[in-house]
Amino acid sequence: MSARTIAVPVSGAGLRMAALLLLIVVYTLYSTGPFVWVAAMSLRTTTEIAANPYGMPWPAHFEKFASAWFDSNYDTYFLNSVTIVLSAVALLTIIGGMAAHCFARYRFRFKSALYFLIFSTIIFPPQVTVIGLFQIMVDYGLYNTRVGLVLVYVSIQLPITIYILEAFFARIPKDLFEAARIDGYSEWSIFWRISLPVAMPAIATTVILNTILLWNEFLYAVVLITEDDKRTLPLGVLRFLGDQLEDVGMIATGLMIAIVPVVLIYVFFSERLIQGMTAGAVK
């Protein structure tokens, strides 16, 4: 009995570790392999890819990025995405921050009801807003405008922004506000000069989260934007796909242009980004 209990766990553990490592290697290849593949293809010409889709990118054709950028309108799409996303994120931080500060700091009638009302929209299927939104944007003259898309982006990310910031603001000690009030700070400067700076980590989280999600947003963009010079990057990539269906190499280059900013943000802020993305799931 004792011999078995000693012998079995040792070899069993070794075997288990090997199986575990194998599983890990396979899953890592599975989850990251597609990106490595598209990165390789983005540096190869379509002729090279047709000869061998899984070849190495030597020699690397970096000029493909220049040609996608200048010849296929990617400069416009990229610039549109940057402007729209950054404007929306800036507005979200201010508007969401104000509301979150208010929910965390003051007591007032219907507070829970209002909070619930705003937060419950995260379960709304977009189908139920998108048609009405389209009509309203047409009525207001905001259809096919970048301003309209910015406002819509603010509205779709507002609940999660308020949720993350409120949780953080609520943990700021009340004494800090009391001290500020005694020092003669106005309510606005308490928000602007105390809440916001103290909550910088949470703000950074929401900024990064909103940037990524809006950078990738597709449904509202495709419904509200039809003119080519106002398209965001996801729409541009798709248009490119429609035009050059067979030109796999150039499409891969286009995909990389959309991926690189996300990867850069992720490399520098991976923990914060993971924190933001999972904020709604972790209790």
């Binding site: 890592t28 829970s112 929209t121 379960i123 309203i136 990738n216 996801p234 959309a258």
Partner: protein
Amino acid sequence: MASHPANTGQDRDHANPPGVIAAFLFPALLVYAALTALPVLRTFYNSTHLVVPNRPSEWIGFTHYAKLWTDAIFWKAIWNTLTWAAVAPVLEVAVATLLALCLYAKVPFSRFLRVAWFTPVLMSYVVVGILWMWIYNYEWGALNTMLRAVGLGSLAQPWLGHPDTALASLIAVTTWMWTGFNMVVILAAMSSLPSEVLEAAELDNCGWLAKLWYVILPLIRPTLLNLIVLSFIGKMKIFDLVWVTTQGNPLWATETVSTYVYKRAFQWSTFDLGYPSAIAVIWFFIVLAGVLGLTALFRQQDKLEY
């Protein structure tokens, strides 16, 4: 969650000046009212009207809803989306739990692996969709290439082009995308488990499988259920991936409610926004019922605190 009792007693409350509160809330409420509440109400209104451009909407009662009963594509879309929303969450959470256990067992490079596995969820569905269209490509796609390499070439097929495999192939894509996300959340829940409990199980000479089944899983159950609900909500919304890859083809095998609403509202030249609005309204109630049902079910099972 904000759950302080409303301050009803003091109207002139120095600490809670109503004017300031209103000013702080105003922009958020304005955005909410104009761009969330109003569109939803408008969609509800549409659903009982014939909404055609350049003409006043005409009230037609529940005609749209009645027509839905006999719309085979609508039912197909509902069926596909519900299948997606039922299968994907279970797959994602199950695989994610396994992966989280791997990292929980303190394998080397676990920090790096966590970050690497999370990557797919950061990509837009447009990028992911195009990428997987290539992976599923019949002639040179990675999947068929691998099948042929291991001698299973007879299984090779146009995965997204065949009605029998298209939906499953797309479900596999969302699973690929979201498993890492779920894994990170589950790993966080596991890491916050009290170590005494696990040590106690260790002392009781509990096998690792038993430890997993009787100790770890019950303790992280609230997290798992929460993830299932979240994933369910996400799949009920699915649009981008389908739109980029198959647009609902072949033969409506991958039509989802979102893509069908989009087609009826903005693509088919019926010019009527009322009918797709009726679909959206029905779908709104189905999602609501699904979320409430799941939450109630889970809560009833072990009195969870959400």
